[in-house]
Symmetry: none
Subunit: 262 residues, 2 copies
DNA sequence: TAATAAATGTCGTTT
DNA sequence: AAACGACGTTTATTA
């Protein structure tokens, strides 16, 4: 019935016939778009367990990575789903629109059988943003500059960012024995790349200094395989979780607020 | 821009202005409808943890029970969410449409800040259907270990899992005549593969024992073609439905709870 | 590929 | 509201 087609790869159908919906959904799946389908359906699942959901009106999400979720009007979790990597097939049969999601690896099948459809949306979404739980690397750096003992007792940071040939160094300062110390922060596990990056930074200091430089990798975890490379290069690892940094920053904000009020 | 209003309590807006979207969303929240909002947004969460998601295009689901989920175009789990019982508030400010979901009990706040909106759907969905989940093979095994008579009167199971060369045996024990008994569970029909798997398990016992071993296949059904192979190998079939196991386990949970209280 | 541990787990049940 | 267990848990990491 209602249909809107824009410059963007987007189609919105309101109260489509099953035929119209079928054509749209089939094309959406083949184009790997994201689909939202709202309608009355029956859902069957067969795999690790089996389930049967009788007819009712639901919101179905098909994502471009091959994941599917069936949402009832209540409850935060989908009543049925299939993780990424499922293969979608759709067909029109006996006045029902079927969507199947297979997962070969686990031998799981999810089938949604639509009796009528209220809305169909096909849309191409762009989302490359970073998701930071607790604190970003930037936040971790801020926390260390505010509370240098997070890195080590007696650590004295220099300017927050020092440019060297190969990029920007996260943290530069002097330890309690006044030894030049360079640190690289990672919000996830330290891997080979992070260690080599720190090496490039340290190599870019001039030769005279190089012997006296401490290299430290700061991260919540050290990859098992990275331990050896770390030792080889003579670097150190300091465990620091984004959670703790987030709390330090929260405390800092509170402190600033209090001081302001005095 | 595009808008469709039908007899049913349903509104679909395609490419609305933030003002149009705001009016619709506000009314949808107050009427406790289900909302689907697609658009570019920034998401902040502060509560048990904290998180920040930079701008990107996402699908946001607001349900009538006060739950909210933000879905990125990939990944089956929402990147941010709030369980049922949250309080939704929306406001228009500085060319941004804000939606906040508070959970007083856990002191959690989720904020979605829309930069532009591609689609808004308000819809009243009806879904009173029953959802039935039937047991998995693992559940069937648990049920038999809890209530061995499901397999046979007088059956005494041994350890829950016995490792043999070819894998793990589902059930091992002694029958009422103290004959060693090995059972393979299938939640569907018994087929050729299941029977041969049981054979491999039994073959992996040492020769001296082998003569005295009973082999039993436990499943809701026995495949027509499998009867002959079963007889040839001297195995038996015990009908057991996942539904019954599911009920036994439910009873067990209740009983454990009661015993705990004594 | 399988085993193990953590999760803003969620969900139901009972205290 | 808090505690405990189960889940088609999911997700990530390690062997």
């Amino acid at each position: 019935m209602g249909s809107c087609l824009d410059k963007r790869d987007k189609i919105v159908l309101s109260n489509p016939s099953l035929d119209e919906a079928y054509i749209a959904i089939k094309s959406g799946i083949s184009k790997r778009l994201n689909l939202v389908i709202i309608g009355k359906c029956v859902v069957d699942y067969e795999g690790r367990a089996s389930s049967k959901l009788e007819a009712g009106e639901r919101i179905v999400l098909l994502k471009s990575d091959g994941s599917i979720q069936i949402h009832r009007p209540k409850e935060s979790m989908p009543v049925n789903w299939q993780p990424p990597g499922a293969l979608f097939k759709t067909k029109l049969e006996k006045d029902r629109l079927h969507i199947r999601a297979y997962r070969k690896t686990k031998r799981e099948v999810l089938e949604v059988e639509f009796i009528y459809i209220l809305v169909v949306i096909l849309i191409d979404l762009t989302d490359d943003a970073e998701f930071n739980l607790y604190a970003s690397e930037e936040d971790m750096k801020r926390a260390i500059l505010y509370e240098p003992s997070l890195l080590e007792e007696g650590f004295k940071p220099l300017t927050s960012e020092k440019k060297v040939k190969s990029g920007f160094i996260d943290i530069v300062g002097f330890d309690k024995n006044n030894v030049l110390t360079v640190a690289e922060i990672k919000k996830d596990m330290v891997n080979r790349d992070a260690i080599l990056q720190l090496k490039r930074y340290i190599d870019s200091f001039n030769l005279a200094e190089k012997g006296k430089i401490r290299g430290i990798l700061i991260a919540p975890r050290l990859g098992k395989d990275s331990q050896r490379l770390l030792s080889t290069l003579g670097f150190e690892f300091k465990r620091l979780s984004p959670q703790i940094c987030a709390e330090i920053l929260k405390k800092k904000r509170r402190k600033l607020m209090t001081e302001f009020l005095i």
